[in-house]
């Protein structure tokens, strides 16, 4: 059972200092996410969803507590080590500004591979396959600003998955898109995540999305609660 655990959050607290006042976002969170799970994170605006994702990826540091991914305790790592950990094990998708504007679609996909040391023909092949998966094979040489919002998010998904990270973090990846496109992108995301047996934690506001999840976590008043997945999913 223990071997199944990918993410362990232990007594995690986070507060922000603004001038003299200290604002507590959440205190002593505890949760476990298992290998291959597709977890949705809900919560009101400002409840701390993005903050939690940032802590999980090591972009931000907790006030106290620990984030353990695999065997690795992120809080024990230096900034540099966390960065190296991130490039290897974590994939990220945001609401917008995911892609590097000065790189073509193809190059955007190649970049994470290059960072972990994969290059050359093999990298190209992987990138082409991945682009095929998101049905954008013909846009490999376009720059991101030539793509529509939905297309950009599809590239972002491809890029987040291309180096087969252990954990995929998505922060409202469809918040920027119309409902229908959002649905398509989301379907693609969950299909690819499941096919690749990728552990996913996704922030969203939409209950529709929540139906796709294995589990639903909700942040409220600085606490994390497990909710039931809406029944009509089945």
């Amino acid at each position: 059972m223990m071997n199944d655990t990918l993410v362990r959050i232990d007594n995690l607290s986070k507060s922000f200092r603004e001038g003299d006042t200290e604002r507590v976002i959440f205190r002593e969170l505890r949760v476990i996410i298992r290998q291959g799970e597709f977890v949705v994170l809900l919560g009101r605006s400002g409840s701390g969803k993005s903050t939690l994702l940032n802590l999980l990826s090591g972009i931000d540091q907790p006030t106290s507590g620990a984030v353990i991914i695999g065997q690795q305790n992120l809080t024990g790592l230096s900034e540099h080590q966390r960065t190296l950990f991130r490039r290897e094990h974590i994939g990220f998708i945001f609401q917008f500004y995911n892609l590097i504007p000065t790189l073509t679609v193809m190059e955007n996909l190649l970049l994470p591979l290059e960072l972990i040391g994969t290059a050359g023909a093999e990298a190209e092949r992987q990138a082409r396959d991945m682009l095929g998966e998101v049905e954008l094979a013909d846009r490999a040489d376009s720059y991101p600003d030539r793509l529509s919002g939905g297309e950009q998010q599809r590239v972002a998904i491809a890029r987040a998955l291309i180096h087969r990270p252990q954990l995929l973090l998505a922060d409202e990846p469809t918040g920027n898109l119309d409902a229908e496109t959002g649905q398509q992108v989301l379907a693609l995301l969950s299909r690819l995540a499941r096919e690749n047996r990728m552990t996913t934690l996704m922030v969203t506001h939409s209950l529709d999305v929540a139906r796709l999840a294995d589990r639903i976590l909700t942040i409220r008043d600085g606490q994390l609660r497990e909710d039931d997945v809406p029944k009509d999913r089945l």
């Binding site: 940032n54 990826s57 972009i59 931000d60 900034e79 540099h80 960065t83 190296l84 991130r86 490039r87 290897e88 974590i90 990220f92 945001f94 500004y97 995911n98 892609l99 590097i100 504007p101 000065t102 790189l103 190059e107 190649l110 970049l111 994470p112 290059e114 960072l115 600003d145």
Partner: protein, 847 residues
């Protein structure tokens, strides 16, 4: 490397910004390299000709500039102890039809030459060399020199020596053994000693005697014996000492040029700093995204630094090419100044030494890396996914502001305190001045924000909402505005500082000339003012002049150079009537008392630079080597004099005649009973002199104008440097402000989308850049004045010992402010045009 591509494509997408940064570095490097090349080429030419002429001599016997009596050499030979000795008569000649070319005439004794100089394989073995002896008026030159002058073997070569027409017969070739030798022998005319004496009007006199003394104890003993043997007026100095003291003469001048060129580089550095800071600020989202993907801080730091190095490399390469071109132009100016002020120097070609070019590369790259270091650090500090919003960045900048202002003030205080400490170190003064500039730059953003806040209501009243918005945008965008303004202020201030310094200097010299030149007419011999002493006036002249009616009084003067082991000093022997003495400026002491001492006691007066260089004060004793041995003279006063940066000693004529045996005169001051008649008298004088000697006759006003012309020539180099600084400043303003506006493309697009017409956009953008330009121009004024003060009160005084009046020409200030304002308006045009033209939708999509 895909990561690098992400960075470089960004640069490629902003070609104008990069172009300007490259041009900025290039101009900075070009100025430094050009000055260095010009200086080192002049030095090299000087060294080569000094080597060629002194040959293998270890010591030289010299006397006052009137020369050494020939008999000294004969006695030396007779004494038999100093076999390795050779007499030299040296001088300079112009060649009719070859303006700007000066031939060095070297008169030698072919029999004595052997051990000293090996010009040709034929030396000492008969051939051409012995014909020098047998054929009076014969001379040798290198083939290259002969070709340049267009003379054939056996032909007459006409010469102009001190305005007199002479000639020599060109009878054979000097054959240098190698490339270096041929450079050294350029423009040299080798003649027999008797011929040289005849040509140069130095009958019975030698310029010097070259010696080779053995090394070690034997040499020391030999030297002692020699010193006892020599007559009182002669002195032995080491041969290299002589070259050193001549090189020293130009050192301060060259150092000043170097420092000014560094100022241009510093302005260039700010351009790079500005460009790199902007490119980092603009790319914050991109850098944040990269960080999220797992790009480390080190990698980002390196990315930005390598970009800067590439810009620096490009700029440096361009700068080297530009510098070499520029050096060719500057070389002429530098050489002319050296010829005007110091000694004859023929610099025909630029010596492209790897050292000069290497220095340029090092400075260019070093400056770039130094300037990019902070922006690169800033880039590396970007949080992943830029957790920080733009307003937090600005917030941090605002919190840093008091620190910047504080440390800027601190730096300025330290610099001021440092400048107060009396010292003679010129490099230290420049470092302190650069500290002052940096300190001011740090304070600038704070001041700019403060001023803009005050301006907001006014702008709103005059230009409505747009006016207010312009000012508010600038305050809100402090991180960019601050850097840009500081860069502009430094660039503009540099032009003000140098401009005011030259202006003050000129005003001072002008009023000094007015006071110092008291006679109505000045007469001197036609000499170029260089070489050891001027050609004496013929005796008959004076007699004839005295008969001309309307002349009240004639004073006689003599310009001499006293050479000794510790350098060369100018001795001015004069008859100064009390009324003229009133034209001398003394920093301290009672003029009446000084005159009393000067005109009756064993006392002299010395000029400020002279006193400064030798740490002398009023009342000190000065030791001079006279024809009767060493004598001490009391310094009665220290007077202001801009005629020579080496300084001069002025001595009453009777006193001179008491200790020196050469009662010649080379200049006259003529006082008229009616000053208004001077033009008329000049005519009469030149008619009277026509059949006796070639003379230069100046009316008081003419001489003043001629002196100012020399002054302007001296500062031609500086003016060129100032112009270049203006150019760099202009490019800098363009660059900084354009970058700022282009960076706001998105923001402007939102405004456009929100209903701002293209017209209003133009107003807003040019209004903003214009406002910054104006602000920078105004803020540059205090710094510019401070820089001028440092240049005048500290640097010129430490370099030359000159004290100057301070004249702040409002025109220069106005020019600078207009320069900043104009360039700033211009900088707004392109972004405004670009933004007004593009569809807002397109701009919104970009990045």
């Amino acid at each position: 490397m895909i990561l690098w591509r992400a960075g470089f494509r960004y640069l490629l997408r902003h070609p104008l910004q990069i172009l300007f940064a490259v041009v900025g570095v290039a101009l900075g490097v070009a100025v430094v390299v050009a000055i260095d090349l010009a200086n080192s080429s002049a030095d090299r030419a000087f060294r080569l000709s000094a080597e060629a002429v002194s040959g293998r001599a270890s010591h030289q016997i010299i006397a006052s500039s009137a020369g050494l009596p020939e008999t000294v050499y004969q006695q030396l030979r007779l004494a038999g102890k100093w076999r390795a000795s050779a007499p030299i008569v040296e001088g300079f000649a112009a060649v009719p039809g070859q303006p700007g070319l000066t031939l060095r005439i070297l008169g030698i004794d072919p029999f004595a030459e052997g051990p000293f100089r090996t010009y040709s394989p034929g030396i000492g073995r008969g051939s051409d060399f012995s014909r020098l002896l047998s054929e009076p008026g014969a001379g040798l030159m290198t083939a290259a020199t002969a070709r340049k002058l267009g003379v054939k073997n056996g032909a007459e070569l006409p010469l102009l020596i001190a305005g007199e027409e002479r000639s020599v017969t060109f009878i054979g070739l000097l054959e240098p053994r190698d490339q270096v030798g041929s450079r050294a022998l350029e423009n040299l005319l080798l003649v027999d000693i008797a011929t040289a004496q005849e040509l140069l009007g130095k009958l019975g006199r030698l310029s010097r005697i070259d010696l080779i003394l053995p090394e070690g104890d034997a040499g020391r003993r030999s030297l002692q014996q020699l010193q006892q043997f020599l007559p009182a007026g002669a002195e032995v100095i080491t041969a290299d000492r002589r070259g050193q003291s001549m090189a020293q003469m130009t050192r301060a001048f060259q150092l000043n040029l170097t420092a000014l060129s560094l100022l241009a580089l510093m302005v260039g550095m700010f351009l790079i700093y500005n460009t790199m800071t902007f490119s980092v600020l603009q790319r914050r989202p991109l850098l944040g995204a990269l960080r999220t993907l797992g790009v480390t801080r080190g990698e980002i730091f390196r990315l930005v630094l390598v970009e800067a190095v590439l810009i620096g490399l490009l700029g440096t390469l361009l700068g080297l090419m530009l510098g070499i071109l520029l050096a060719n132009g500057l070389l002429a100016l530098v050489t002319r100044t050296i010829n005007d002020l110091y000694f004859v120097l023929n610099v025909r070609s630029l010596a492209l030494t790897p050292l000069s070019l290497g220095k340029g590369v090092l400075l260019g790259l070093g400056a770039t890396v130094a300037a990019a270091f902070v922006p690169a650090l800033e880039a590396a500090r970007t949080a992943p996914r830029s957790v920080l919003s733009r307003s937090t960045i600005e917030g941090r900048q605002r919190r840093l502001l008091p620190w910047a202002v504080g440390s800027g003030c601190g730096l300025m205080l330290i610099s001021c305190a440092g400048l107060m400490i009396p010292s003679k170190s010129i490099p230290a003064s420049f470092i302190l001045m650069f500290m002052l500039i940096t300190g001011y730059a740090l304070v600038t953003p704070g001041t700019a924000v403060w001023l803009l806040r005050r301006l907001q209501p006014l702008l709103k009243r005059s230009f409505g909402m747009l006016g207010k918005m312009a000012a508010r945008n600038l305050v809100a965008g402090l991180s960019r505005t601050g850097v840009a303004t500081a860069a502009l202020v430094i660039a503009v201030a540099a032009t003000i500082g140098v401009g005011l310094m030259i202006g003050s200097f000129r005003v001072t010299v002008e009023s000094w000339l007015h006071s110092y030149l008291q006679a109505d007419i000045y007469v001197t011999t036609e000499s170029d003012g260089f070489g050891p002493g001027r050609t004496p006036l013929k005796k008959e002249l004076l007699e004839r002049f005295q008969e001309i009616p309307g002349i009240e009084r004639i004073t006689r003067a003599r310009h001499l150079k006293l050479e000794s082991q510790d350098g060369i000093s100018e001795l001015f022997v004069a008859e100064i009537p009390p009324a003229s003495f009133a034209g001398y400026w003394f920093a301290e002491g009672d003029r009446q008392q000084i005159y009393q001492a000067f005109s009756s006691a064993e006392a002299v007066i010395v000029s400020e630079p002279y006193a400064y260089r030798r740490n002398l004060q009023r009342g000190d004793l000065l030791t001079l080597r006279t024809d009767q041995g060493e004598k001490q003279f009391r310094i009665a006063g220290v007077f202001t004099d801009y005629g020579s940066d080496q300084g001069r000693i002025t001595m009453r004529r009777q006193l001179y005649e008491k200790y020196w045996q050469e009662p010649q005169t080379d200049a006259l001051g003529i006082y008229l009973s009616d000053s208004a008649a001077s033009a008329d008298l000049v005519q009469q004088l030149s008619r009277a002199a026509a059949d006796i000697q070639q003379l230069v006759i100046y009316s008081n006003q003419d001489l003043r104008e001629a002196s100012l012309a020399t002054f302007d020539r001296t500062f031609a180099v500086t003016s060129v440097l100032r112009l270049l600084a203006v150019l760099v400043a202009f490019v800098g303003i363009l660059n900084a402000l354009m970058a700022m506006q282009i960076e706001r493309s998105r923001e402007l697009a939102i405004l456009r989308a929100g209903g701002l017409t293209p017209q209003q956009l133009w107003t807003l953008v040019t209004g903003e850049t214009g406002l910054i330009g104006l602000l920078a121009g105004l803020l540059a004024v205090p710094l510019g004045i401070a820089q001028a003060l440092v240049l005048i009160l500290v640097i010129n005084r430490r370099s030359f010992g000159w004290s100057m009046q301070i004249a702040i020409d409002p025109l220069i200030l106005l020019q600078a402010v207009l320069l900043a304002f104009g360039a700033a308006l211009l900088a707004g045009l392109y972004p405004a045009w670009r933004m007004a033209r593009t569809q807002p939708a397109l701009a919104l999509r970009e990045e």
